[in-house]
Symmetry: C2
Subunit: 462 residues, 2 copies
């Protein structure tokens, strides 16, 4: 690997300007779920295209009915090396509750942690702008030194990952020939811990549903009507409370169809990772596993399905008190899926269950928010083996292959629509507070992330 | 009654200017629950004082730690007539959801209903500015014709009725000698129907509680933590769903202590009122009584206690979807009390129940919002009998004596602290949408309400 060391050294030299570039991107408020930020999402896409063009990519903003895609192409130095598609997303989560942020979420900064670590703060640092920029900056270092990339690269950046990716499937379908590569690199996941890089080989699926229950045709005074008129908040709480039984199992008909028990050898390998309930939950101020009884926190978050209420609202929620019986009550509910659980069947079962609990004079509406099955990747493909070695060379401890509690629907779409497997490598940490106030990314994640992609590209091209 | 007819005729002549005066008061945004409107509450108090002074009352704004009281005195023409305290409240409910109003809630108007009725629209028209002004305008007509009032009148207007009346008890205590009268007139209730005036003789009590459940020390990603970390929305929905059993009874320990079955003769008298489930619930788009099984809607709303969730919120409630496990979830819960149910015991029982359902690593906070026992007034006092006749003379149908689902804590406070019984007469209608968007008051309620007070004052002074 004659070319590797100069490229790594160049990435080190570039670091200050790599940070400047990342901060420029972080300042763009590309919140995809809120229509008020539509212009900012486009601005982020344009910024990425212009930057990729400056690195020699043939890059363009590609319109969709929602936020635009970014597609970029670059030839590789070695025509026999594989063609790789890199995927990331430039959209970010909303920032509320804004009052819990220590700094402006869109004014990124570098801060010193107590133990001397440096952290990058701001919305999108870890999810996913910081991560996608590790790859872009790896490409830059290559170009700086070699004037070329080691293999042919296509880049796809999405702007709707945090809002269910409504435009993604149609876009992949319409541009399949252009986007099909030998395999995909996806950078939207975490390390095992600060010293141990990880490759994710199992991901939970996701079904999202918004439920709106309507009772009376207006808000009522609870004195005049209380005791006789249906209260939609009562119906909703009863519906949601009934989703779990006393053992933490989900009660929906057919919910566990396709859920297999985790093989003992896999469970044994997880145990060697040394994660304890105290360590995992203690980090966020908790101590009691809340899900199905008798299972480890790794099994609960990697290999078991869940039902979670992500939001609930109804009635008077302001200061003081208002003795009202609301006309409507709403909740956002999501299910994490494993094995071969069918998203459509689970959505149907949930809707049938809710309908069965609605009194005759009340009504319910459902609004779907995305659905994707769980993903299982091969634990011993040559690509995974090469990446594992490359990562192990960069970080203090050897890379591990793990499961993941979150959902990355794109991986299933690549598999189904482009016949392309994905390699999931990311440099986030469990305490990055993605989706929460005070999101951060470690400077080490960014720096060694760039270096990791240089090593992985080199290994894949060899 | 030589003086009565000219005074009634004067009230009829005054009506256009009585409406102008009411509209001036309605335009003041005196929302007591929201600190942003503190200045508006004072403005309403000052407006009332200045208007009462112009009618010859010795009136003043009286400061409290919260919103001010209005106290006004006027001598009576007949020194042997009783001294009467009139109570109303100038504060109003919040107006959200503002988008459901057809008009600006603070720009009152007169509209034509389909059947030719005229209605006054705006927040506070029925609850309680329109109602308290019926009495003020009755006094004005009296003064215009006779230059005097038939009996000695003290007026007390409160500005915190919609926010639990925190300053009321201390104010009554500190000013007991000044406020004590022979009995109180309270105008904050409804007619039986459009043609039938009503005197309320039984009122439910109220206990309000805000509950905040905290799980993790931050919002969590439901992919990373879902299945292992406690979700406070799940705990809250389970707590709230457990408040009622399958028969609609409330499950709290000791909740029904002090609740008596309604005597058969009272139930029989209610049946003669001809109220049907279809009529009562049909008006608001419902049809199925939701509370305890096997009881009429009148019994459910007048004679049975309730537990209602008036508001609930937690997690992500904006547009789109956010796969978050919230750190906190909150609800506002109220209990309507009957018989001799003890507000303090019910609050304690509720808190003990909630605490028993909170996992060891989660916590709960409670914020009390008012508490008052149920009230029972005599069905056959001379005052009630005189008022019943006076009302029956004014309206198409004879007055009825009824129970009431709502709570008017002042009635209990007058009883306990000033040894003074209340006469509850009001001119609202069930479809006035108090506490809801598009609150209204019938022009007939206002006009005949003014005339009703003239007749009642005359009858009481005789």
């Amino acid at each position: 690997m004659p070319d590797l060391m100069p490229v790594l050294a160049r990435a080190d030299q570039n670091l200050p300007s790599s940070l400047d570039k990342l901060f420029d991107l972080l300042r763009i408020k590309s919140i995809s779920t809120d229509p008020a930020y539509k212009g900012d999402c486009r601005k982020a896409a344009v910024w990425l295209v212009e930057y990729l063009q400056s690195l020699g990519f043939d890059a363009s903003v590609r319109d969709t009915p929602g936020h635009p895609m970014v597609v970029a192409h670059h030839a590789g130095a070695n025509p026999s090396a594989p063609h790789v598609l890199f995927y990331g997303h430039y959209d970010v989560q909303p920032v509320d509750p804004i009052e819990l942020w220590d700094n402006d979420p869109f004014e990124p900064s570098i801060k010193d942690a107590a133990d001397g670590r440096k952290i990058l703060t701001g919305r999108g640092t870890a999810d996913d702008k910081g991560q996608l920029m590790t790859f872009v900056e790896a490409c830059r270092a290559y170009k700086d030194i070699n004037g070329a990339l080691p293999c042919r690269i296509t880049i796809l950046f999405e702007g709707e990952e945090e809002s269910g990716s409504p435009s993604l499937k149609p876009f992949l379908e319409a541009n399949a020939a252009e986007l099909k590569a030998d395999y995909a690199l996806v950078c939207d996941t975490s390390m095992w811990d600060r010293d141990t890089p990880a490759i994710a080989a199992a991901l939970r699926g996701l079904v999202g549903e918004e439920v709106v229950i309507t009772a009376a045709d207006r808000d009522l005074h609870s004195g005049l009507f209380g005791g006789a008129a249906a209260n939609p908040i009562h119906i909703l709480t009863s519906v949601l409370a009934g989703l779990h039984d006393d053992t933490g199992r989900i009660t929906l008909d057919g919910f566990y169809d396709g859920v297999e028990e985790t093989p003992e050898n896999i469970k044994a390998s997880w145990e060697t990772l040394g994660l304890t309930t105290e360590g995992f939950l203690g980090d966020v101020g908790l101590s009691v596993p809340s899900g199905e009884k008798g299972r480890s926190v790794l099994e609960l978050t990697w290999a078991r399905p869940t039902a979670e209420v992500n939001g609930i609202w109804g009635g008077y929620t302001g200061e003081g008190f208002k003795t009202v019986i609301a006309a409507k009550a709403s909740a956002k509910v999501s299910f994490r899926l494993v094995g071969t659980q069918d998203p459509a069947a689970i959505r149907d079962s949930f809707r049938a269950y809710v309908r069965s609990k609605i009194p005759a004079d009340c009504s319910v509406e459902f609004h779907p928010h995305g659905g994707s099955p769980a993903i299982h990747l091969s634990y011993d493909s040559p690509v995974l083996t090469k990446a594992k070695t490359a990562l192990s060379d960069e970080w203090p401890k050897p890379a591990v292959v793990i499961g993941m509690g979150g959902s990355i629907p794109i991986v299933g779409d690549f598999q189904k629509m482009l016949g392309m497997e994905s390699l999931l490598v990311g440099f986030g940490l469990a305490d990055d507070r993605i989706h929460s106030p005070n999101e951060k990314y470690e400077l080490t994640s960014y720096h060694k992330g760039i270096r990791s992609w240089i090593r992985i590209m080199e290994a894949l091209a060899a």
